[in-house]
């Protein structure tokens, strides 16, 4: 049913998004279910994501949105007793394929966590970390790459004179952008953001949001957010999850103005949540 809806979306305001005809999806989720032990956390999800778009995932607490996000780079693999059904394709390859190297997958699909988690190293070493463990030894290449990543994460100007200070000396918002820079340094194609601004003040949040708009030119971004205004502001498409089900997935504007499902409307207008 959800699938049909996506296929038949009629739109739209600017007419530039030929969603229906474009078969060239970066990511496609097919009949995907996820279980913790015997509890089903995600139920038969179908969803397709275009390259260089931002997809916002919203829904009440415990609806499975973070779990869903952590499927794209198989971070859930670290949890014992989990099980998948269905497939997730990135560039046409099923990420649950036996032959797929999960280490390669994670380099290709970067992730920024809800609570910023800089390592107890210097700012420079934090960003260089991914390069070094991926076997890059060339010092000048690493230095260039670190600078570029910090630029891309809109942090360079603030830290360029203190690269060798501890990452813990940064403010909360700077730490989160540092984590984004760390993810960018290994040149992923997809970026997963798990409530990246939930612990930040409004100014830092605005910076991160601005940054996401900039990043989508290069990356395909999936962002989980608790904040519906944020989803409305930054995402091109929005997926509404409830109790492990994908209730509605559509162009953000449509979700927030004319949702097809009553329950989406109830959630968005704040009748529950």
């Amino acid at each position: 049913m959800i699938d049909n809806k996506i296929e038949t979306v009629e739109h739209n305001q600017n007419g530039s998004m030929n969603y229906i005809k474009d078969n060239n999806f970066k990511i496609s989720v097919e009949k995907f279910s996820f279980y913790y032990e015997s509890a089903q956390a995600l139920k038969n999800i179908d969803l397709k994501i275009k390259k260089n778009t931002v997809v916002g995932i919203i829904g009440p607490s415990g609806c499975g949105k973070s779990t869903f996000l952590r499927c794209f780079n198989r971070m859930n693999d670290t949890i014992p007793g989990i099980r998948y059904e269905g497939e997730i394709h990135i560039d046409g390859n099923n990420i649950f394929d036996r032959n797929l190297d999960v280490v390669d997958l994670r380099r290709n699909v970067g992730m920024v966590f809800q609570k910023s988690n800089p390592f107890p190293k210097s700012i420079f070493e934090n960003v260089a970390y991914g390069l070094k463990i991926n076997g890059i030894r060339d010092k000048s290449y690493i230095a260039t790459k670190v600078e570029k990543s910090l630029h891309n994460a809109a942090l360079w100007e603030e830290v360029k004179d203190r690269l060798h200070q501890s990452a813990f000396s940064l403010s909360g918002g700077q730490q989160q952008r540092l984590c984004i820079a760390r993810a960018l340094a290994v040149e992923p194609e997809v970026l997963l953001l798990d409530e990246p601004a939930s612990a930040l003040d409004p100014i830092a949040t605005a910076k991160v949001e601005e940054l996401i708009q900039e990043l989508k030119k290069k990356y395909t971004i999936i962002i989980v957010t608790h904040n519906m205004q944020q989803a409305a502001r930054i995402s091109d498409y929005t997926a509404f999850f409830m109790l492990g089900e994908l209730i509605e997935y559509d162009i953000t504007n449509k979700i927030f103005t004319k949702p097809s499902e009553k329950i989406t409307e109830d959630y968005i207008t704040g009748r529950f949540g």
Binding site: T78, P80, Y129, G130, C179
Partner: protein, 284 residues
Amino acid sequence: MKNRKAEEFIGFIILRICIGFVLLALLIILFDIVKKGLGVISWEFLTAMPRNGMTEGGIFPAIVGTFFVTVITAILSIPLGMGCAIYLNEYARKGKITRLIRMSIRNLSGVPSIVYGLFGVVLFVQLMRLDTSILSAGLTLGLMTLPWTITASEEALKNVPQSYRDGALAVGATKWQAIRTNVLPYAIPGMLTGTILGLSRAAGETAPILFTGAAFYIPFLPKSLSDQFMALPYHLYIMATQHHAIEKVRPIAYGTALVLIVLIFCMNFFAILARYKLRKVKVE
């Protein structure tokens, strides 16, 4: 209202008495040993062989013996203990078997040391034909300290936030890379502290070395790891209970006790210092 305050007052008094009692016991022991032992401590006492049926001279071979046994203990216990802890905490699936293994290890730390001694005789002295030697005694003590080393190391690993592991995995680290570069550096201070505390307990043990290598009296230093040796705790035991002229050698017993206590305090102090130093590095 008044009742609550009275209750609190009485409660605090009781807690203070508890602390006071413990401190008092410690101070009395220390005072007694220092008072009676300090008199015999001299350069000669620390560096000379025992003479005249151990009624005169020093305790040098016992210090040397304890040192070498502790080194053997460390060589067995540190790598093996850390390895087990890393496996249990990072790799082993969380399930019934892991829980069972962990429970067994915890229980092993409660096994009386004399039982380890007996086990050491059977395994190292007889079965492996290492004879009564520094090696046998050190390995026995190593086995005895393993549960402490493993438990302390596992606690240290648990204290490293999961987000360090996740963050590393998320940029394409393998599990071992994540552990090596982003977990171990922050766990090692805690691991070392726990391990050194375990070693300092081992250095003071008598029972496990009693059957496996410690000798009553050897008028020369051990030449190799397969020699028997004298050890501080065993020497103390003999001076205090087994010697033919107990009254005469009592000061030597107290001197030995003082040396042993100072040695162990030094190790504990070093453990705490290491933790403090390395923790500071981590925060910077």
